[in-house]
Amino acid sequence: MTAKIGETYTIKDVSISDEKLKRQIVNLGINKNNKIKLLKHNYNKSAILVEVMCVRYALDKLVCEQIKLYE
């Protein structure tokens, strides 16, 4: 899966192998059928701004790595 900034994906289509992160995302009320839109990197690309269910989240680079993010 190659994800790009500005594109929208379904969470089940992107692989998130980290268990702790998975739990946290489920805990936020986000499920695998939700759409995730990748909005913006921060300086030096350590975190990414995403939008899920109309809410904006800052997620760390772990997410970027798990979904193999390319610009």
Binding site: L21, L39, N42, Y43, C54, Y57, D60, K68
Partner: protein, 616 residues
């Protein structure tokens, strides 16, 4: 007694509703995780007593974090209470996941849709009537809406739980409502973010906002504001002094009241206007949603130094006042991160040191005084970054997964901001003010009593305990080149408050310029480096004790003193004996070589485009 529990996802405005219902002043902010414990109060203005509980925000009934566990445990124990489920009108779809869980579990639930004013062209109150469960749409910042909510609570307080509610029907109606709201959604935040979060634009906005905060606080506005407040209180204190001087009481009590108590209270009050202004302005930045974006944008840079984006505001506030900066670290959820940020704050030069720098810089570096002061500030930044790296290595901790909800942009609510700021100032005056007063009284005793515990009536400062102690401690400072006990006295007074370094010497009959004339250029640099780095003032130490405990407060006091001593000693030696310069240069060359060798050996991090990743 009847009770109502405010439940909901984080950042839906539960504490704002709680404060409006009860008249409390609990901290509210435009981001998640502000409430960390259960708060209790009584609904004001009702003819019967109804208690309200404000729970920390939760996403599900099986919480992971400490505050979530607290909230879930509370809910289990209070199944009969009326649950006011607070939703954010902008995020109804996500907020409903927990509401659904609670309806299915059998809680007596009613919906409170907050921020309903942000959804234009849709009467949410009308839509809520279609539900089997009671609901109300409000804007918690409006008094009129809070009155409606009070009546709503009064009506629904004694009703039995809706166990027979058809969850599928409710879900269908709810989905329909969320879709309608999504269609009418305000896309202002998206538009602003598209413009603001461009790297260059954001950096510019950040610098402008930070410099504006500092310019207003420590520039003309803050100075005039401080001057007005201080003049007002000075008149009161002058009249008090006159009353005390005319009174028929002993000289010791007169001196205690005038030089101890009044000066103590006056010193504390002199801090208040600028701290108040700084907190007020930072609260405005928080309330607009700008803070969360700063945290996101600068997170990567600060992670290199073992901090996160959230630490940046505390460090900037540190240039104003270390005590306030320590208090601002409360926004950092991670204990270890909070501790590391607090440990770095004493390295940042606070505004109280600026007058000392200017007095000395004007005396010895007249032409380049601003360059010299700027160099001192730069030096403090470099030292703090070096220690950030050291603390990163020493106080290791596995990083949590970084997930943070970014709030919408909102116009700041000045009433709430003012209430928040007042509550922080109140805390400052009670917790820190009392301790500063105590220390100022101790200093008064040391200044005004001789070693035989006799009161010094003729202002012969050389006989005082403070001078005696300074003389005894002089041997400690001789390796730094400080040969005069007055220099040691000024450093001891600086431990109470850095302002007292200049003010304190005037008690000894010396003007700041005469005091500066005791130094030469080399000694000035050593003295200022020592002041720049040595133990922070008592109020900052007490603040650190309140935030991270006694052990760390003692550590900061001792460690800062030793670090300042060591750096000042090295500076003195380098300036007096040139062979030390060669040793330092050699050390730096070795250091740089080691850095490059380690960097070459370090594997570059993968961004998902290495051969290994492509195979997967």
């Amino acid at each position: 007694m009847n009770s109502v529990v405010l439940v909901g996802n984080p950042n839906t405005g539960k504490t704002t509703i709680f404060n409006s219902l009860t008249g409390s002043r609990e901290k509210v902010a435009n981001w998640h995780g502000v409430t960390v414990s259960v708060k209790e109060g009584l609904v004001k203005g009702l003819d019967k007593k109804i208690s309200v509980y404000d729970l920390p925000g939760i996403y599900s009934l099986n919480g992971y974090s400490n505050e979530e566990k607290i909230a879930c445990e509370f809910l289990k124990q209070n199944k009969e209470a009326l649950i006011c489920y607070v939703c954010d009108a902008n995020n109804l779809a996500r907020n409903f996941i927990l509401a659904k869980q609670m309806i299915e579990t059998g809680y007596n639930i009613c919906l409170v849709v907050n921020m309903a004013n942000e959804i234009k062209n849709l009467d949410i109150n009308n839509e809520l009537k279609k539900f089997k469960i009671p609901g109300i749409a409000i804007d918690a910042r409006k008094k009129k809406d809070i009155e409606k909510l009070k009546n709503f609570i009064k009506i629904h307080n004694n009703k039995k739980p809706q166990n027979n509610a058809n969850i599928n029907k409710i879900t269908a109606i709810y989905d329909n409502l969320s879709n309608k709201i999504a269609e009418n959604r305000n896309i202002k935040t998206e538009r602003i973010d598209n413009f603001v979060l461009k790297n260059g634009v954001f950096l510019l906005l950040f610098l402008i906002s930070i410099f504006s905060v500092f310019y207003i606080t420590f520039g003309p506005v803050g100075t005039v504001f401080s001057w007005i407040i201080n003049q007002l209180f000075n008149k009161i204190f002058d009249n008090l002094r006159k009353i005390i001087l005319c009174g028929n009481i002993s000289l010791i009590i007169k001196s205690f009241l005038i030089d101890g108590v009044i000066i103590g209270v006056q010193t504390i009050i002199s801090f208040v206007p600028q701290i108040m202004l700084l907190i007020l302005l930072l609260n405005i930045l928080e309330d607009t949603g700008f803070m969360s974006r700063v945290s996101f944008m600068f997170d990567g840079i600060f992670k290199k130094f073992g901090l996160t984006g959230k630490s940046i505001f505390s460090l900037f506030v540190g240039f104003g006042c270390t005590t306030t900066a320590v208090m601002t670290t409360r926004n950092l959820e991670n204990k270890n991160l909070r501790r590391r940020t607090i440990l770095l704050l004493p390295f940042i030069s606070c505004s109280a040191k600026l007058p000392i720098f200017l007095v000395f810089a004007a005396s010895f570096f007249e032409k380049y005084k601003y360059v010299f002061v700027f160099a001192l500030y730069l030096f403090s930044c470099l030292i703090s970054l070096t220690f950030a790296l050291i603390y990163k290595k020493i106080l290791k901790q596995k990083n949590d997964v970084y997930i943070m909800e970014i709030p919408k942009y909102r116009l700041p609510n000045l009433k709430i901001i003012f209430k928040n700021s007042l509550s922080i100032i109140n805390e400052f005056l009670i917790k820190i003010g009392t301790m500063i007063s105590l220390f100022i009284i101790i200093v008064w005793f040391l200044q005004n009593f001789s070693t035989s515990f006799m009161f010094i009536e003729n202002e012969k400062f050389d006989d005082s305990i403070l001078y005696f102690l300074s003389n005894k401690l002089l041997f400690l400072f001789k390796p730094l080149g400080f040969e005069n006990p007055v220099m040691v006295v000024s450093l001891l007074l600086g431990l109470v408050a850095k302002e007292m370094i200049v003010v304190g010497v005037s008690v000894m009959g010396l003007t700041p310029n005469i005091f500066a004339s005791m130094f030469n250029t080399k000694l000035t640099i050593v003295f200022l480096i020592f002041i720049l780095l040595y133990s922070p003032c008592i109020s900052a130490i007490i603040s650190i004790k309140n935030e991270v405990g006694k052990k760390w407060a003692i550590y900061v006091f001792v460690a800062q003193f030793l670090i300042a001593y060591l750096v000042a000693f090295l500076a003195f030696k380098i300036m007096t004996d040139y062979k030390y310069i060669f040793a330092l240069v050699l050390f730096l060359i070795l250091d740089i070589c080691c850095f490059f060798v380690l960097r070459l050996n370090k594997k570059t991090s993968c961004r998902g485009n290495c051969n290994e990743c492509k195979r997967i």
